[in-house]
Symmetry: C2
Subunit: 359 residues, 2 copies
């Protein structure tokens, strides 16, 4: 981040120093950093459609982010005792070593059971309008409570067992008491609050953000070309805003149905005919690292994915060349995972009171 | 480490400054740091029986440790693509967030299958005379090759598939070529070499090491009392040396058979009658964090564990008080896990050539 800011600062400095010499008609056509009129147009258009990631993700009033809460949430995120078996943590399926996903079609949970949908990355997830593929939970707090109790995933029979385990560990008791108010700070809401606070730190700024912030040289000419195509082909109808996705729901198969029609999407939540095959539009940040693709994880190749999107959503047969250029742009959104999040916490030990793992 | 050295340095400085005033007969009985003659005797005895951990674990000539090799090994250690399912890494069962173990009776491998023995901690494992509970492999290099191909664990059908996956990832190809010589640097021996080099960095110095290095105040009076008991009760017959264990084989049940007689230990390797129920003596470093105990992981309480050891190995019925004191000492061997090892590596992405995970 510092490095990027330095580069950005240096660019501004160069601009100020040489600016005086450059205020000529020629400058308007070809700036000091080699920007052509088309480049400027693309950057302005991009700045209108997308938004750079904030340095810190805004928190809801009910769950303000504090440094202590983030550290507690990080421990819980990495703690396999949140699963019945004692071996599955949030990080098992949202592995920060692989960009917050697990790179398998559908995650392997308790007893290696598979769920029906691909695990979306946890990175930048707090920027989405809602959580899960079908948007059935409004925020990170509500999301965090789901997998722990899902019999296919972490398989805890009830939240009481989660609290029993945490309450049996003095270090956790102390930390919850420091972070949260109330007589019984170790409760399931607060488990979710702490995890959500940690997840709000998972912001991954990339060169694309530098570009949106005004540094036209942050992207290569090839990446800018891909970005131009991404916009001119109307991918931005759905993939826009800060997450380049994650801001709306859309039917998968607007023009041509997707090959797998098993999953009815939001219909399973709303029972509305119009919600059949409707899913939350995924964010494309770090997309080249969070394969395989789509809600069912059935497509592994990012190029095939882009092609399918063009065909099924836009009715456009993208050429191999166009697909390749768009993918080059997509890769420029691969960001930096915060260093502190990657540092494994040393977990507090269980006691003789802690309920044992079960399979 | 720095902090400990500073404290140690400060202690020496205090000793030098006040030493001149203290060279009296009284000093011999009660030194400037409050050491009593018994304390001195215990420390000397401990220094004769145990050895402090080295800062760097010595490497075999055939696999010298280099910084690049350690970083490559760390990536492989955390990479779940070393398993058929794509979700089990070395760190799944030897989780560095929980002192290199998984805190379950027996690990859950491919399809949640369980093995027959408790996963020993990877921390300081390079100090042991051999690897696995039965010592069937001589070193970390040979050990690393086992679980990857074990159908109950990571379940890769053969080493070729491991190499196929790694070879399909350009970043890995490049790193192997930098770290290893030869025409085909990405081979199964080198996978093991890199992982072993990383594991040799997993040294966890504790206050007990400071004590062995001469700082008598590094342990509390209670810990010293526990240490005294540990030695006077002859626990040190087996638990000695740098690992406080890990330096010899011993029958489990010298005096009284252990409750679980199913596992014949080294007999399964050697077929010698004398090797029935013989196991490698486990290291007691970080032992209070690496529950549950024994080769079968059947005992969760460290106190019960110490009691069983006294009864079955030494024919001694330790009192509750004695057991508690020994446990207080054992906890002083909980060490610091190296910071760099705890920092999750961001793993290089798969390509369309990479063979897919399977269950």
């Amino acid at each position: 981040m510092k490095k990027r800011l330095t580069i950005y600062g240096a660019t501004i400095a160069v601009f100020i120093i040489f600016g005086a010499f450059l205020i000529t008609p020629a400058y308007a056509q070809n700036s000091g950093n080699g920007m052509k009129p088309d480049d400027q147009k693309i950057q302005k258009q991009a700045q209108a459609i997308f938004k750079p990631l904030p340095q810190i993700m805004p928190a809801p009033e009910a769950n303000p982010t504090t440094a202590e809460k983030v550290q507690l949430g990080k421990k819980l995120y990495y703690d396999p005792r949140l699963s019945l078996s004692g071996v599955i943590s949030c990080n098992t399926c949202h592995n920060l070593a692989t960009y917050g996903s697990d790179n398998v079609e559908t995650s392997l949970g308790h007893n290696f059971q598979t769920g029906g949908r691909n695990a979306p990355t946890v990175l930048n997830a707090g920027t989405h309008l809602a959580q899960f593929w079908d948007g059935r939970e409004p925020d990170l707090e509500a999301q965090a409570k789901g997998p722990v109790l899902n019999p296919l995933e972490m398989a805890m029979p009830d939240s009481e067992l989660v609290i029993q385990r945490l309450n049996s560990i003095p270090e956790y008791r102390e930390e919850f008491a420091v972070v949260f108010e109330g007589n019984e700070p170790v409760n399931y809401d607060n488990v979710a609050n702490a995890i959500a606070a940690f997840e709000r730190t998972l912001v991954t700024p990339s060169r694309f953000d530098d570009y949106l912030n005004g540094n036209a040289d942050a992207l290569t000419p090839e990446e800018k070309e891909g970005l131009g195509l991404f916009m001119s082909k109307d991918c931005t109808t759905c993939h826009n805003g800060v997450g380049v996705g994650g801001s709306m729901y859309q039917k998968f198969g607007v023009v041509k149905p997707y090959k797998n029609q098993e999953d009815l999407g939001r219909y399973t939540i709303t029972n509305k005919e119009a919600d059949k095959y409707v899913f939350k539009v995924p964010s494309l940040r770090n997309i080249t690292r969070t394969y395989p693709y789509f809600h069912d994880g059935q497509v592994w190749d990012i190029k095939e994915t882009v092609y399918i999107m063009g065909e099924s959503q836009l009715g456009t047969q993208l050429s191999d060349e166009e697909v390749s250029k768009i993918v080059i742009f997509l890769d420029s959104m691969t960001g930096e995972i915060p260093q502190d999040a990657l540092k494994l916490p040393v977990l507090p030990p269980s006691t003789t009171e802690t309920s044992k793992p079960k399979i």
